[in-house]
């Protein structure tokens, strides 16, 4: 019994640290009406047209990020494994660079470098910068997921088989490789989704009507609604990560970058 004391002790400390803020936030979010517990704060948030708009904006941005990231990463990872295996460490290095260049430095560099070009002068241009930075942030997760997925199938044989049937590169990618890395791609997609939905720094500094800046604005005028948003956010992150872990059962948990 004594032998197990310390492990239990540290487990309880850790669990307390993790769970108390969550419990407190939930408790707090129910107190919007004086003297009773209610879901009023949630109702206020969900009925807010700005919530719906910013959520929808970030949702679309996340989808665009995932599609572009997949279109860049899958052919690259495939080609590197098939023809240029020595290039893999180089690609890995570049996909890990977002850890060296934090989000705030990335958006600062983009804003300065493309200052007074159509990219920063128009709403559409800023959105391109937004999606571009998110795609960069998604690379570490997407590349690792897809690379592992490709390693599980024999791409050399699949490629040769497809070629011997007369398929060109486009057909091979679209009809052989993509379907085969679909699940790996999904697991990368879910974490990208979770990151984009909660991202604040880049969206705010590019003045985009995204979910993150909305949360920030709401917090300056409301007391209980932010905690309801925190719970909604946590549930959303949980759902995305659970979906990812369920799809990639046995795959290692991913590491988050700084935000």
């Amino acid at each position: 019994m004594l032998k197990r004391f310390w492990p239990w002790f540290w487990f309880i400390i850790g669990a307390t640290y993790f769970l108390v803020p969550l419990y407190a936030t939930f408790d707090f979010s129910l107190r919007a009406r004086r003297g009773e517990l209610s879901f009023a704060a949630y109702a206020n948030v969900l009925n807010d047209i700005k919530f719906v708009e910013s959520f929808w904006f970030s949702f679309q941005t996340a989808l665009a990020t995932i599609v572009i990231s997949a279109l860049v990463i899958v052919p690259t990872a495939y080609w590197v494994q098939l023809r240029m295996p020595r290039l893999r460490p180089v690609i890995e290095f570049f996909t890990l660079l977002p850890f060296v260049v934090p989000a705030v430095v990335l958006v600062f560099s983009l804003a300065r470098t493309y200052n007074r070009t159509p990219l920063t002068d128009s709403r559409e241009g800023l959105w391109v910068l937004l999606v571009g930075s998110y795609v960069i942030l998604s690379f570490p997760y997407m590349y690792r997921a897809v690379d592992t997925g490709l390693r599980a199938i024999n791409i050399h044989d699949l490629t040769e088989a497809a070629q011997s049937l007369g398929a060109g590169w486009f057909t091979i990618l679209a009809r052989v490789i993509f379907p085969n890395v679909y699940t790996a791609l999904l697991s990368g997609a879910f974490i990208t989704f979770a990151i984009v939905m909660g991202e604040f720094t880049i969206a705010a500094l590019l003045a985009q009507p995204a979910f993150g800046p909305y949360m920030n604005r709401l917090a300056s005028s409301k007391v209980y609604e932010p905690s309801a948003l925190a719970i909604i956010s946590f549930a959303l992150t949980w759902a995305a990560i659970a979906a990812m872990q369920w799809i990639g059962r046995g795959a290692q948990a991913r590491i988050a970058g700084p935000r």
Binding site: F11, R83, I91, L106, F108, E199, T201, M215
Partner: protein, 298 residues
């Protein structure tokens, strides 16, 4: 292994013949990275050595010596160090508890899944959660007051230590996620061998366990350090992000909107300082990981 080498030789023949066409396959990736990451970053680095007339100068770098900026860097470095060490120790002990500590398997899985979520649960929602917990009206603050302990004004969530407590919330899970596999990579034979030679638990950890794990522990703490150093949203929400922002990331963020600043080169130098520190972190981390890979294959 035989078919593999065969493919390799065939490949190199192909590679030599259509060398330039092969590179075309990775061009989209490199173009994308160049446009949205490399070119902007490099141009910022280069511009921090240029004045407004595009002449070489060290003035921007020297301006980093301004007391206001130095104190901001020191603040960020201290915050990162405290949360890397605090989160590293707590996370390391938790990782130990759920792996070789011998806790029931479902607890291990639960902690790992939770860590996967919690390490991504940062930014504004995390700040909101802690305001609801330890803010002036927070649930825990109120509860402590009801039993006669008043946190405020001695403590503030918006102070250095308040910020540290919030940061540690996302540091612990990251440490758990990276260290749990390392602990699991410790072989039972090592412990058995030590015990058969008469080693106590203390001896085992002092002479075998810790030396093997140390590079991995330190490396992960360096990663946590960088993780905290680059964090922006959480601090922005808690400190208000005003010009009094004392974290470097907030200072950099503020440079984007304020064109009225006397020297736009200063922002570039600030960013350069950040990239240098993050680069050192990743370099150290890679080196320590390589050290630990000698023993642990996880």
């Amino acid at each position: 292994m035989a078919p593999l080498t065969q493919t390799n030789t065939r490949q190199s023949v192909v590679e030599r013949r259509i060398f330039s066409w092969t590179w075309l396959g990775v061009a989209p990736f490199f173009l994308f990275v160049a446009a949205f990451l490399i070119w902007p970053t490099l141009s910022i680095i280069a511009q921090s050595f240029l004045d407004q007339e595009r002449r070489l100068t060290l003035r921007n770098i020297l301006e980093l010596g301004h007391p206001f900026i130095v104190s901001s860097y020191v603040y960020s470095l201290q915050l990162s160090a405290v949360t890397a060490i605090g989160g590293g120790i707590l996370g390391g002990l938790l990782a130990y508890a759920i792996t070789i500590g011998g806790l029931p398997r479902p607890l291990r899985d639960a902690v790992l899944s939770f860590s996967g979520v919690a390490s991504n649960f940062a930014g504004l929602p995390l700040a909101f959660a802690f305001i609801a917990t330890l803010g002036q009206l927070g649930v825990v603050t109120q509860w402590l007051r009801s039993i006669g302990i008043s946190l405020y004004p001695a403590f503030s969530l918006y102070s250095f230590w308040g910020l540290s407590i919030v940061y540690i919330y996302f540091q612990i899970p990251l440490m758990v996620l990276i260290m749990a596999p390392a602990f699991e990579g410790m072989r039972r034979e090592w412990r058995e061998a030590a015990e058969s030679l008469g080693a106590s638990s203390w001896h085992y950890w002092r002479y075998i366990g810790l030396p093997i794990l140390l590079p991995s522990i330190l490396g992960t703490m360096v990663l946590l350090f960088g993780n905290a150093f680059g964090a922006h949203a959480t601090a922005f929400q808690l400190t208000g992000g005003g010009s009094q922002g004392n974290v470097v990331t907030i200072l950099i963020g503020a440079q984007i909107s304020s064109d009225a600043l006397a020297n736009p080169g200063l922002g570039n130098a600030l960013a350069l300082g950040m990239i240098v520190i993050m680069g050192v972190c990743i370099g150290l981390y890679t080196w320590l990981q390589r050290l630990s890979a000698r023993w642990l294959r996880s």
